[in-house]
Symmetry: C2
Subunit: 221 residues, 2 copies
Amino acid sequence: MDQTLSHTEENYLKALTHLTILDQNSLGVGTNDLAHNLGLKPATVNDMLKKLKEKKLVNYQKYGKITLTENGRKSGVEIIRKHRLWETFLCEKLEFSWDEVHEVAEQLEHIRSGKLVNRLDRFLDYPKFDPHGDPIPNEKGEIEFRQRKLLSELKVGDTCSLMAVKDNDPDFLKYVDKLGLSIGAAIEVMGIENYDNSMQILVNNSQFNISEKVAENLYVS
Amino acid sequence: MDQTLSHTEENYLKALTHLTILDQNSLGVGTNDLAHNLGLKPATVNDMLKKLKEKKLVNYQKYGKITLTENGRKSGVEIIRKHRLWETFLCEKLEFSWDEVHEVAEQLEHIRSGKLVNRLDRFLDYPKFDPHGDPIPNEKGEIEFRQRKLLSELKVGDTCSLMAVKDNDPDFLKYVDKLGLSIGAAIEVMGIENYDNSMQILVNNSQFNISEKVAENLYVS
DNA sequence: TATAAAAGTTAGGCAAGTCTAACAATTATT
DNA sequence: AATAATTGTTAGACTTGCCTAACTTTTATA
């Protein structure tokens, strides 16, 4: 039943899981979206979709939207589970900083071993969240979704705490660090500039001005 | 200077490191030897040798013997370092048994990260030997060679201790385990059968008969 | 040393995964 | 509703890494 997937196929399923399952407000995913997400050309993605459909991992009709089958979803979630467990390992055990882990985890997530992931999970004492605040799917593929907002949706006077970061770009994460913002940090919205929607926030008794782009990449409360 | 190598290229360099550097009694390595070691056809290996020569990783002339250049040796030893560190990690931290680690380490050895290997080395407290008793090259690529013999070379009455296993086949390792033989175990040669060179050995006060093939895959003292 | 055996090479082919360029279908806009 | 813009598809080509079959060189042996 369990066919072996190539690294490439795994990356497609992972991307589709992000786009169709983890991103709440998605209105259907097409060839272009997927291509953009994977950094490939639509033509390339189109070919692969035929292959994945053949293998019963995606539902797909010409010119239609793409969804994952049950098997596709399982595989996709499993890759994300591995990715997030490895990130946790790198941070907690090998003292990597949170801006360094993504790239390495992109490789580690493809290691195939029945035992490895679950042993790693046990070694880390069954963590629920990865270093970026994202939930780690459990062995059964269940994901704990939490109520969350973007910081950019808050109003002046609102308070919240940092739950997760949306973007994993190292430059963004280093910047977030520099602001003294770590997962769980308390944030108060002191003001919002009408002109560019930049935000004054209070963190650890220090006040900062952050751009709308930054506020749109921080999940809070 | 540091070109990026494909997994495939890394496997060729690793195999060549084993054949030309770690195997003491090698009289030069040819296309066939390498093909056999990698489980590939000589024609395939021939193609790749041209590519590796082009990249200045091997010294090679048509119909001649293959050796590694300094760069090739460095890369090959680095892969072996990674392999052996990951094996150690799997055994010591994730409680894998020594017959399970090789296959997974074959994948993990290809993870590319400047930081990862050295952090792992530190996390494991700079181990000198992997679970099979093989030396782990240090960060500079230096390998500590130790005086060793095959158990099959000993005579009746000789005593020794198990230093390393030559073969990493899971069936072999499970069998070695079953005999109560772990790295460091004391062994006494009680008798050798003239007919088939099988050996009676004493381990932990139990006597066993092992075939020549087994004795040829155990490094001692 | 002539010949057989072994080892090594070349040529041509295939699958996976990518691309560009040209074309087709769908969706949005006037 | 007609047309423009966007999105999706097809066809053909390239690279990597592998293969088989045929051929050549080297080495071993009679």
